[in-house]
Symmetry: none
Subunit: 188 residues, 4 copies
DNA sequence: TATGAATGAGAGTTCATTCAT
DNA sequence: AATGAATGAACTCTCATTCAT
């Protein structure tokens, strides 16, 4: 695949991400995506073998980008400092890639679509669970599983509120409160 | 509307809630709902004047039930005890009415659908914001807005995780951790 | 059929005539007619065996009324005075029974519906042709057929214009002009 | 739009004109038109964006053709000779384009459909009224409005009779009688 | 006689996908 | 690689008609 094709493929994905996240997967037609990406309906099938495939690639690409940013490339052990840094980066990422997160969250609630991604999402989930559990254990938790649940509730809820109505949320204050919660030794 | 009709109407709503929440509003056709409810497609229009109307009734009915459980019929002031009680009841409700919450959350991420319900949801939202803000202020918060965000992130995230995969979540432990977080005087 | 039934039947026909003529046969549903006549959808089938039957009865009834008014009960010979009187009465009738004429004219252009009425309409047509042809012959016409065409064009066109937009037509002036045309000896 | 597409579009319009005029707009379905035009139902929507649009295009196209034939490109003043010529051409047109006139007349009696075309038809009507009124005034009429009504009744009635049953009408004789009526100085 | 729930066929329309060009 | 006409299945919704009550 040459440069020009890659560009077109990327343009399709950009447009699709924007539209899917704003209007929903089912409400956006292939011809609309094609038109807004400046190409013909039929030609999209040279880049993605179906509408669903486009969605899946979208998510996989998004997850890849996420990895590149978050993959600590280390032994899977999080220091306290790295944990705070992780939170900071997570919130930065949400702000920077709002449409992607919006799409992901809307898919989360539609298991039938999500099943297509299961194989790709599972290792990510497991790895995160592992790393964070270890972190909580290392920090003296006697119920790391629940601590993990609490943490992921907090972050998922924060993300959801932000992608749903970013203008009415002061996401930075929320982030600081979350960080300060974990810094507060009461919780150790 | 006699008993038999009420039953059929209810059956339609039950089926629709189940399917909408599992597969998404757009993926479920009226004919499918009709078939699973054991009647003809056309007949559903004797009960709901459109597919959208069915969705709206579903949500409004669900919210009504919610009110009956939560509307404390009081002055809008929450004591600490009532606040914990509220959390308890909220989690009970989520467990008891998982499909409804799943539907609500999937709608939350589809603004175009949500707009239909805006008028009904807004007063609820505003009321909750008012009551909870007052509570945080009364309990010594100097940033009730962020406290509210933190609280609603926690609960929304918890709900989302639970409705997405109830079998992999120990929702009770999470609930206790949330309650104990607020009981812990560190946060006062 | 007792009095009450006749009344209901008549009410249905009145409502149907009004609606069909204003909105068109296909645009008006049986349930709408039933509702506006103050009865149930199903019950209309005790009075007319189908929607089409209702239409046909409507037209036949209307034609009957027309007969009663126009049937000269004489030998089929029109004097000049009777001819002018006929025109006068025709225009009176159009003004008095505008919906009926509107319906008739809209059916005229839909042969497939009209075919159902062919048997009933044919004798009327033939009789009129006969009487009017004789009249034109008696008055010195050497092409009674064309005179008849001219006359029926005039009257049909006048009716059509009137039923289509009665408020923008001074039908009386038109009537007088038509009569005076035939009184004017130039045309003999 | 290339030649082949133009042909198919034209074929659709031809079929639709034939069917609409014979059976009425509401009685003819898009699938029927598609089938008789030899294409799939869905494909018709590549040529017309709705059934209504097809109808409107049909009428507008027909009116355009009419204009090309009738628009004298002059100052709006009709000489006597031009007036007779206009009648001749009108009757020629009716013979040549019977289905179009049949459709137009059937629409005339269905106000709800006609409203769609009001904006396009109004200027034509007004222009005709103006030109013909002037003609009657110039020819010594002291009631041009009624003369106009008389004239348009005659022509409308003639057209209607012809499109309704062309085989039973000698339209040429009727035309000559109309012309000779206006030539006859009695009417001056 | 009267009701209106129920049916089933069919309407207009959309759209993912294919395919000839 | 690129186009968009063409397909066919599916969609929401309507309505004449029937039938149990």
């Amino acid at each position: 695949m040459n440069t020009q094709m890659k560009e077109k493929r990327q343009r399709l994905m950009d447009v699709a991400l924007e539209l899917f996240s704003e209007e929903g997967y089912h409400s956006v037609s292939i011809s609309r995506i094609a038109k807004e990406a400046g190409m013909s309906k039929g030609n999209t099938y040279n880049y993605f073998k179906s509408k669903q495939d486009l969605l899946v690639q979208l998510v996989l690409d998004g997850l890849d980008e996420l990895f590149q940013e978050f993959d600590p490339n280390h032994d899977g052990v999080l220091t306290e400092e790295e944990f705070y840094h992780f939170i900071e980066k997570l919130f930065d990422n949400i702000k920077a890639r709002q449409p992607f997160w919006k799409l992901m969250f809307s898919l989360l609630l539609q298991p039938h679509i999500l099943e297509l991604l299961e194989d790709d999402l599972e290792p990510i989930g497991e790895r995160s669970v592992g790393i964070l559990s270890s972190f909580f254990i290392n920090n003296g938790s006697n119920d790391p599983y629940t601590d993990l649940l609490f943490f992921s509730s907090l972050t998922k809820g924060a993300i959801m509120q932000y992608v749903y109505s970013p203008e009415s949320i002061d996401i930075d204050k929320l982030k600081y409160k979350i960080i300060s919660y974990y810094k507060n030794e009461c919780n150790h």
